[in-house]
């Protein structure tokens, strides 16, 4: 099909279809509405399931039901809606079901605003709901990357039997870029779904989908089993990109659309004779701690840039364990930082450490 120009929300919707999504359940919320709108047209036409639910809570519980019956399921929402969905997300993780959740983030807290934000970083990277669990969380910076990661996310969800979160912001949801939907994405080694509770007792023995463990020892074992998954994600599936790092003297740490803006900033910095790299987490859970070990020795200062008030700083501190000076620049309220602001932040950080 070659490259086509699509709006972010629509491109992500089509990517889900390409990724084999069987069913979508969702509830309207700005700025992600084009996503369900697109799917309402194209899922049913392809014999797949589309339901606009009565609430965010119902939507995620429909996801839980369909995932339990063996479907590749998607839901999408934006920050306040994702907060409502946490009930179902923890059940999905607890019952070890695969599902893909797209969060097109907007500003908060509360009703906040509808403009782009990265304000859900903590909620996304700490599980979000009750209990000990995490989401494999991907933060693409372009539509092409979003499309590729969404296609692959269904594989990852099936592989881990765990929800996968696609964390983008209103900027990625609303912008248009050319995208190639035929990129090959990684195929994961998947086992047949012999655990489904779809009622089809002619093809399998009785299955129970459940997150209730009434014996403390059973629950502890279950928690440890889940932990093993998260340990495996951390050990083997951290993803990140190092940009312009070879001769860098200072580096920016940024994910999603913020890293995109940082790319322009480092070009402007180069014109001023400053060689600045970017460490771009692609997985925000597991956080790419390995990347920090690869930073050049010359890089002593890291400037964390986010569209929030510094939620990623803790993770950067844990990853560096005091070896670097951590600086921060952020914009909130739906205001997207301009490249020049990031340039100033880097120069300021550089100046401070040279004093």
């Amino acid at each position: 099909m070659g490259k086509v120009l699509m709006k972010g929300n629509e491109a992500m919707a089509l990517a889900a279809i390409k990724g084999g999504c069987d069913a979508f359940f969702g509830y309207p919320i700005t700025p992600q509405n084009e996503l369900p709108e697109y799917l309402s047209k194209h899922m049913q036409a392809n014999g797949r399931v589309f339901v606009q639910s009565e609430s965010e809570v119902a939507a995620i519980n429909m996801v839980y039901g369909a995932a339990g019956a063996g479907a590749r399921v998607l839901t999408s929402s934006s920050s306040p809606g994702i907060a409502l969905k946490q009930e179902g997300i923890t059940y999905i993780a607890g019952a070890e079901l695969p599902a893909v959740i797209i969060n097109v983030m907007r500003g908060g807290p509360g009703l906040g605003g509808i403009q782009p934000s990265q304000g859900d970083y903590k909620q996304i990277t700490r599980g979000g709901g009750n209990g000990d669990y995490y989401l494999y969380s991907l933060a693409p910076e372009s539509l092409q990357e979003a499309v590729d990661l969404i296609k692959e996310s269904f594989e990852i969800a099936d592989y881990y039997r765990n929800p996968v979160m696609i964390a983008v912001d209103g900027l990625i949801g609303q912008m248009m870029e050319p995208v190639d939907f035929d990129h090959e994405v990684k195929k994961w080694d998947l086992k047949p779904k012999d655990w489904v509770a779809d009622g089809d007792r002619k093809s399998h023995p009785k299955n129970i989908i459940n997150s209730l463990y009434l014996d403390p020892t059973d629950l502890e074992n279950h928690n440890l089993k889940l932990k093993k998954k998260y340990d495996d994600m951390k050990a083997n599936h951290q993803r990140y990109e190092m940009i312009n790092m070879e001769n860098a003297e200072i580096a920016i740490v940024a994910f999603g659309s913020t890293s995109r803006i940082a790319r322009t900033a480092i070009q402007l910095l180069k014109e001023q004779g400053v060689n600045c790299g970017i460490l771009r987490p692609i997985t925000i859970y597991p956080f790419p701690e390995k990347a920090f070990k690869e930073l050049p020795k010359e890089v002593k200062d890291l400037v964390v840039v986010e569209m929030n008030t510094g939620q990623m700083i803790d993770d950067v501190k844990i990853a560096t364990m005091g070896t670097h000076n951590i600086h921060f620049y952020g914009r909130v309220g739906g205001i997207v930082p301009e490249a020049e602001e990031i340039v100033d932040a880097v120069l300021k950080a550089r100046g401070e450490s040279n004093e």
Partner: protein
């Protein structure tokens, strides 16, 4: 031995396990009716049951079909997910009055509203049993519970919610009936209603809900016999038995 024959045996839709219900509780009877209906309609091998939160939360261990456990009140949404993906499955939820009538009323109404081809087994015992006898939306006026220690009053908690009547007003619903299991005659009637509900689903004719008047001797503070009498004397007058909606018969009482 040729003149011996089996005249009764446990339904093959029920596991051979000890049910977690107190003596005198009618959950056991209702489980039996669900099980027998699934077997008699030959739909057991494509059934998925949704366990809810309440005293019946563990019934994923009791039925022999596939089961999925749902969050409090969300069983109809979970059922929707399964049914839409597997339209040929037979999906039922098993919910109490707190689960369906309170925290999950939206999910129940909207499953009916969409005309989901599923069956809700709704057990109304006018109290939260599992959490220790708190007031439910169906708790009667004057009924004492741990959160209405002086008896429920209209001023404080409103009038008890009549679920069958409410659900019958939803245009998307196909069949709504309220039954009771307080004596053999009514058990037979209840079975007929439940079987009809499953048959409607089997024929892909839409949403059905059967409300069972049930008892909770422990939290009502009564012996099982007294509890049954109390249900007959107090619940049934406020929650009259009968068919509240039968779209297929063209009648809508």
């Amino acid at each position: 031995m040729s003149n011996t024959k089996i005249v009764y045996e446990k339904s093959k839709a029920l596991e051979d396990v000890h049910l977690s219900y107190c003596p005198g509780c009618t959950h056991g009877v209702i489980h039996k009716l669900v099980a027998e209906s699934l077997v008699e309609l030959d739909i057991l091998d494509r059934a998925v049951g949704i366990s809810s939160v309440g005293c019946s939360a563990l019934n994923y261990d009791f039925f022999t079909c596939d089961m999925q456990q749902a969050a409090h009140g969300r069983a109809p949404a979970v059922a929707t997910g399964i049914k839409r993906f597997k339209p040929d499955s037979i999906v039922f939820t098993y919910q109490g009055d707190g689960d369906l009538g309170s925290i999950g009323i939206a999910e129940a109404i909207h499953a009916a509203h969409r005309g989901e081809n599923m069956t809700i087994v709704f057990v109304n015992n006018a109290i939260y049993g599992m959490t220790g006898g708190q007031m439910a939306p169906t708790t009667l006026i004057g009924q004492k519970t741990t959160t209405s220690p002086e008896g429920r009053t209209e001023a404080q908690a409103g009038l008890p919610l009549r679920i069958a009547e409410l659900m019958a007003t939803i245009p998307g619903a196909t069949y709504i009936e309220r039954v009771s299991v307080h004596d053999p005659k009514h058990v037979m009637k209840a079975k007929k209603a439940l079987k009809k509900a499953f048959e409607i689903q089997k024929n892909k004719q839409g949403f059905s809900l059967i409300e069972f008047i049930s008892t909770c001797p422990v939290n009502w503070g009564m012996t099982p016999k007294k509890a049954v009498d109390w249900a007959v004397d107090n619940m049934i007058p406020y929650f009259p038995l009968g068919v509240y909606k039968d779209k297929l018969a063209g009648e809508n009482k």
